[in-house]
């Protein structure tokens, strides 16, 4: 009912609240959930979300001439 709880440093949580409000998230929880989902997807090597800039870079990297 209460879900999982994770302890976050007060100072960091203040920054998260500010960032969430600035970026238009409904709540700090929504922001945290979104950021963690992205990071988990990246680290688990799962289905990569489409990012136009990253996609261009990935397309070109195989040429060998760029990093």
């Amino acid at each position: 009912m209460f879900g999982n709880r994770i302890k976050i440093d007060d100072e960091l949580f203040e920054k998260i609240k500010q960032c969430a409000a600035k970026a238009g998230y409904a709540s700090p929880e929504e922001f945290i959930q979104h950021v963690l989902e992205k990071e988990v997807a990246r680290l688990s090597g799962g289905d990569a979300p489409r990012d136009p800039e990253e996609e261009v870079k990935k397309r070109l990297q195989g040429l060998g001439y760029i990093e």
Partner: protein, 652 residues
């Protein structure tokens, strides 16, 4: 009699081919360097090249500005400079957005689709478009009834429509639409997971003697959200022996540690029952115990059933697959990024590069054995890619080299040159008195010791401005795509390997430089200052030549070129990050990457080679002379837009 009459009508209407008795064999060896060739010839390692040089001729072949393969081969294909064919660099940009893209081709999605639940059904077909302009020499030969076989010509994907038999080369993507994305599976927690340069790393766990994993295919544009298509596979690991069995949905293979699988076919479902795409890949079992490491090559388009057009006619690709079995179709098949990232070591990369060469040699034997008339053009990639990767073993000054590397791999390039000599020997054995032979390369090679970060230099000199509070990055933190640039105060930017563009008003979205006197003065100042740049580590000039596109190019596309083409000194090249708009803190850096040789520099410093069994008469032949030479060999006059002349005729 009626049949004979019908045949005669068909030939006169151009439906058939008149017999052509003349034969022209052109062997294109990407990156063959005249200095190395001379060194190996002098050492007696290249008897066939020496014999050819003595019989006909051997000279340097002036390369393109800039000397990059897509530009150089487009010069050769069309007989025009980049102003005529529109390819200025590996990488171009959209002036409105500054988004970079591969210069030679573009994939366009279907224009209309019908949403249906979680699916999106295409109502029109997408298209792959070749961005190179100008008519190729084989199209002109085709119009004159001369048959051609063109094998893996760069900058010809998708292959132009023609009756010639052509197979696409550099510029051909993998099944994911990239220019090569490998997959690497490991249970090593210290290997960073996720997207890496040229590939993706997947963390896996070994449980109950098996590893479950997914191999990813193309983004599925037929589904909402365009998820990446994937298939599941299982690796069964022997508990004691360094052996594993890889089980895919339609095949399985057993590998020992350090062994490559044969090509395996994989199929990705895009729309149940209705739409699947097929590809081929090879697995390399790098380590079984104590850790698990499995490399999977980029998923190549299957030549037996290509998801994108690979050949003309379409049946040529299937026919080659039937004769040769599956083979690399990816434009740049040698997986240099897997070596640069450490996912394959030097030995493992060389094994993969040799597999590519062996396939090319088999295809060469096949085409040579059935070459009866007309033109055969055949392309070899090995010298180029391996000169990029193993120059560090040749040059003791290289920051990425060391004694051990030199001891183990100093002769890698020599061995590959010798392989080219053997291939030439096969061709020479088949030469008859009606065959002309040309052996050529698009450019030579030089060390890549130091990076010059053009955008960092522009920023430090005040030509490129960052937003308030932003600062240049370091290494990979340098950012791409001109992150944090204040375009309202920026007058110039570097993009691609040799391009420098002005931020022109009316062209770039936030352009501030006015064409005419202001642009001319800026170009003059930039040229003067760039030529004065000295490397603080050696006091050597980093740039020995700056060409202005308006003077170097002619033709309808000259205005799309970068204003300036930067010609780096031997030993120097554009920095890794600056190519895609990264702005780093340092202007100069040591190049520590295994990618240690390069040619994207002052074109006068890296000419290619030209050899023939006939006397070469031109005093300073260049790549744009090759198309007119080929046409004239078959008695076809060159079109007016071609710049050059036959290399067998004296220069005026």
């Amino acid at each position: 009699m009626f049949l004979l009459l019908l045949l005669a009508v068909a030939i006169s209407c151009g439906l058939g081919r008149s017999p052509v008795s003349k034969k022209l064999l052109v062997i294109g060896i990407d990156g063959m360097d005249p200095q190395l060739l001379e060194r190996f010839m002098a050492a007696g390692k290249m008897p066939n090249f020496s014999a050819l040089a003595a019989r006909g001729g051997f000279t340097r072949l002036t390369t393109s500005i800039p000397p990059q393969s897509p530009v150089a081969w487009s010069n050769l294909i069309t007989g025009m400079d980049p102003g005529g064919h529109g390819i200025f660099d590996f990488i171009h940009r959209d002036p409105a957005t500054l988004a970079p893209y591969l210069s030679t081709s573009r994939v366009e999605p279907p224009r209309f689709s019908l949403p249906l639940g979680s699916w999106r059904l295409p109502l029109s077909s997408g298209a792959t478009v070749l961005l190179r302009h100008g008519k190729s020499f084989w199209e002109i030969l085709d119009e004159h009834g001369v048959p051609s076989v063109i094998y893996r010509m760069p900058a010809n994907f998708p292959p132009v429509k023609t009756r010639a038999r052509t197979f696409s080369g550099m510029g051909t993507p993998d099944l994911l639409g990239t220019y090569g994305t490998f997959s690497f599976y490991t249970d090593d927690l210290f290997v960073a997971a996720g997207a890496v340069n040229g590939g993706r790393v997947f963390p896996v766990t070994l449980e109950g003697g098996r590893v479950q994993a997914k191999l990813y295919g193309p983004y599925n544009t037929l589904r909402k959200g365009e998820p990446q298509a994937s298939l599941d596979f299982t690796v069964f690991v022997d508990p004691a022996e360094p052996v594993a069995k890889i089980v895919l949905p339609d095949s399985e293979t057993i590998l020992r540690e350090g062994e490559w699988s044969p090509w395996l076919r994989v199929e990705f479902e895009l729309l149940p029952v209705l739409s699947n795409v097929r590809g081929i890949c090879r697995f390399y079992l790098k380590e079984v115990h104590p850790g698990f490491k499995l490399y999977v090559s980029p998923v190549n388009l299957d030549p037996a059933d290509p998801a994108l057009p690979l050949s003309t006619p379409e049946s040529y690709s299937r026919e080659l697959a039937g004769e040769l079995g599956p083979f690399h179709t990816l434009g740049i098949a040698e997986d240099t990024k897997a070596l640069s990232g450490g996912y394959l070591n030097d030995e493992e990369y060389l094994q993969q590069a040799r597999l590519v060469l062996e396939e090319q040699l088999r295809a060469f034997d096949l085409e040579l054995s059935r070459f009866r008339s007309g033109l055969l053009f055949f392309y070899f990639s090995s010298l180029d890619l391996n000169s990029h990767m193993f120059w560090r073993a040749l040059d003791e000054r290289h920051p990425a080299g060391n004694v051990q590397l030199a001891e183990q791999h100093a002769t890698v390039l020599e061995q590959l040159y010798v392989e080219m000599d053997r291939a030439l020997g096969k061709a020479l054995a088949r030469l008859d008195d009606r065959t002309t032979l040309l052996v050529l390369s698009d450019h030579g090679f030089a060390p890549f010791l130091r990076s010059f970060n053009l955008n960092a230099w522009l920023q430090q000199k005040g030509y490129l401005a960052l937003q308030e509070g932003a600062s240049p990055g370091i290494g990979s933190a340098a950012g791409d795509f001109f992150k944090n640039v204040d375009w309202s105060r920026s007058r110039a930017y570097g993009l691609g390997l040799n391009g420098l563009y002005l931020n022109l008003s009316g062209r770039e979205k936030q352009g501030i430089v006015h064409s005419g006197a202001e642009a001319d003065a800026l170009i003059a100042a930039l040229t003067r200052e760039l030529l004065a740049v000295r490397d603080p580590a050696s006091a050597l000039p980093a740039i020995t030549r700056v060409d202005r596109a308006a003077q170097a190019y002619s033709g309808p596309y000259a205005a799309q070129a970068p204003e300036l083409l930067i010609g780096y000194n031997r030993g120097y090249r554009a920095g890794w990050g600056t190519v895609l708009g990264g702005i780093s803190a340092e202007v100069f850096e040591d190049n520590l990457d295994p990618w240690s040789g390069d040619h994207c520099m002052d074109f006068t410093l890296v000419p290619g080679v030209l050899l023939s069994n006939r006397k070469l008469a031109a005093s300073a032949p260049s790549l744009t002379d090759i198309a007119p030479t080929i046409l004239l060999e078959f008695g076809v006059a060159k079109p007016s837009q071609m710049k050059g002349a036959s290399v067998f005729e004296k220069s005026p």
